[in-house]
């Protein structure tokens, strides 16, 4: 018991540290997509719904399974789809119709 509690605690603490570190220095441009991406990740709660289903053996259990599955699936599917849609819009410039508006525009600014 303590063995697995310690394992879970260690996993929790280390994951918190990873979470803090992975997010630092996000440009403000991407804060909204980032929020959405993190939102999609907590859709992993659907794995919990699966575990609930595996343990369900009563009508209450089935009902809770249904509710948990519906909520979790909305989160996970919706989360990834909307993030992808949002990010699909962040495009590189089209192949330039004339060389003047070439890709280097952003880099060039500092010296204009």
């Amino acid at each position: 018991m303590t063995e697995s509690l310690f394992a879970n605690l260690a996993i929790f603490v280390l994951s918190l540290l990873v979470g803090v570190e992975v997010i630092s220095k996000i440009p403000s441009t991407l804060q909204t997509p980032m929020m959405s991406a993190a939102n999609a990740v907590h859709g992993v709660v659907i794995a919990g719904a699966v575990a609930t289903a595996a343990a369900a053996d009563s009508w209450t259990g089935y009902a809770l399974t249904f509710v948990a599955a519906a909520l979790a699936a909305a989160n996970v599917f919706g989360g990834y789809v909307v993030t992808d849609r949002m990010l699909a819009m962040f495009k590189r410039p089209d192949p330039p119709p004339d060389p003047a508006e070439d890709t280097g525009i952003a880099g060039e600014v500092a010296r204009t």
Binding site: L5, I11, F12, V13, S15, L16, V20, V22, I23, S28, L30, Q31, T32, M34, M35, S36, A38, V41, H42, V45, I46, A47, G48, A49, V50, A51, A54, A56, D57, T60, G61, Y62, A63, F66, V67, A68, A70, L71, A73, A74, N75, V76, F77, G78, G79, Y80, V81, V82, M89, F90, K91, R92, P93, D94, A100, E101, I105, A106, V109, A110
Partner: protein
């Protein structure tokens, strides 16, 4: 731990790595989309191995699996449909809805786990404690997120909703919820206390978000995102499922940092937002604080603006909240394309907090097919203003208020876009009303500034028409 469970654990670690790699790649626009997909692969692995394990290990009950599949079908179709059709300006409220369902799912799972023990022995503390926290955070997030979504969508008034005695009510409900939580742990087999906790926490969620102004809602959405992560991690402790613990903690921590960053760029503090201390609202614009005088102002027509733009070499567009409110992103992009084709160098100067959500302008403009290399961040933009002929300010106000450089007003100290360094300035907005911060803006009365009073969408459409005649000529 069986060998099978060990294997499942290993797949969870693989999934965790993919989540982290995915989030890491979100740091740059060029890799962000791939990052999201890598994270999705991790999700498929985590869920797939959980299903496989459940099928092999417990076999399970046909009815339960049916409930799972039906539920997942309903949820997935709702999620996918809403996500594929949502307007880009409505994304914050959709994220908020997903926080709600995520938190709700975590609470439901925690309750189910508790009930499951109840039929056998009473659950040990290592289960009942995380169950109680899961229910508490999950249901608070559920109701709070729905309210936040309602505010953002305009279904619930954006003003802070406050009423006398709110503080006493808050404390009372919090006390009841806390008591119920403790009793649920102590008695450990009375589901009733858990239900009291559920209701109490849900009310608390509502009470927490109602007093928050609509403009602060994005910060609250981000905070509730972190909460959902924590609720999921708690459910993971209760179920002894490491995928939930890892992903939940990851989002909990990342969401917290993101929330702090968002609040920082907005000059707000998270505690003051949550405690409803300020109660600043979106509606500051309705009450012009100062009577800025129309006499000091040089007014322009669509035609004037078009002429000025067509003969400029370099134009910097400063989009603000008004552009988003008017949904004028496509019009501005069209104007920019027209000018670019005519040989004018057009770029966008984007302030981190332009609009009502960090990065909102970038998302909006991206929607209108503006390449991200044309969107200049604050520093780049401020270098560019020095050599630019026209700064075209559209529905923006606070983000280019030169008074921010002076002390003693509501925007003091906020870094701003130096639109006043451009050779000339054109501002499109509907009136002399102030913006979010409710302060007057000397830029509008600057002699080199011309004002074009119009709704952003309508005004830009007129300018496009007018520009076409100059460009064709």
């Amino acid at each position: 731990m069986t060998d099978l469970a060990f294997l499942v654990g290993v797949t969870y670690l693989i999934a965790a790595t993919l989540f982290v790699v995915g989030l890491h790649k979100m740091r740059a626009p060029s890799t962000a989309r791939r990052g999201n997909r890598i994270s999705a692969v991790g999700m498929v692995i985590a869920v797939g191995s959980t299903v496989t394990f459940a099928l092999i290990d417990t076999g399970g009950d046909v009815l339960a699996w049916t409930a799972l599949v039906l539920g997942a079908g309903v949820g997935a179709s709702f999620g996918v449909r809403r996500s594929s059709t949502v307007k880009m300006t409505d994304i914050p409220q959709l994220i908020s809805v997903f926080n709600a369902v995520g938190g709700g799912a975590a609470a439901t799972i925690a309750i189910a786990d508790f009930l499951h023990y109840r039929t056998g022995d009473s659950p040990p503390l290592t289960v009942s404690i995380p169950v109680v926290f899961g229910v508490l955070i999950g249901s608070l997030t559920f109701s709070g997120s729905l309210i936040a979504a309602g505010k953002l969508q305009g279904l619930i008034p954006g003003q802070p909703i406050v009423f006398p005695g709110a503080r006493v009510l808050n404390l009372g409900v919090a006390g009841v919820a806390a008591g119920a939580g403790v009793l649920a742990i102590v008695t450990s087999s009375h589901i009733e206390w858990l239900l009291v906790l559920l209701v109490g926490a849900s009310i608390l969620g509502i009470l927490m978000v109602l007093p928050i102004g609509g403009a602060d809602a994005p910060v609250i959405v981000s905070l509730l995102n972190a909460f959902t992560g924590l609720a999921v991690a708690m459910a993971g402790f209760a179920l002894d499922n490491q995928a939930l613990i890892i992903a939940g903690a990851l989002v909990g921590a990342a969401g917290t940092i993101l929330t702090l960053e968002m609040a920082k760029v907005m000059n707000r503090s998270v505690p003051s937002i949550v405690l409803g201390g300020f109660g600043t609202s979106d509606t500051a614009t309705d009450t012009p604080v100062d009577g800025q005088d129309l006499n000091d102002v040089r007014q322009l027509t669509a035609d004037d603006v078009a002429l000025q733009l067509a003969y400029a070499h370099q134009v910097l567009i400063v989009p603000g909240y008004g552009l988003a409110a008017a949904q004028a992103q496509h019009e501005v992009a069209e104007l920019a394309k027209l000018l670019t084709a005519h040989g004018v160098k057009v770029r966008y100067a984007i302030h981190p907090v332009a609009g009502r959500m960090p990065g909102q302008m970038n998302v909006l403009l991206a929607e209108a097919d503006v390449p991200y290399t044309q969107m200049l961040q604050l520093d780049e933009a401020n270098t560019a203003f020095d050599t630019c002929d026209v700064a075209l300010v559209i529905g923006a106000n606070d983000v280019c208020n030169p008074d921010a450089r002076e002390p003693g007003n509501a925007v003091s100290g906020m870094p701003i876009l130096d639109a006043d360094h451009a050779k000339s300035v054109v501002v499109i907005k509907r009136s002399m009303n102030s913006g979010y911060a409710g302060v007057s803006n000397p830029l509008f009365t600057d002699p080199k500034t011309g004002m074009f009073f119009s709704d952003a969408k309508k005004g830009l459409a007129e300018i496009v028409v007018a520009t076409k005649t100059y460009v064709a000529a």
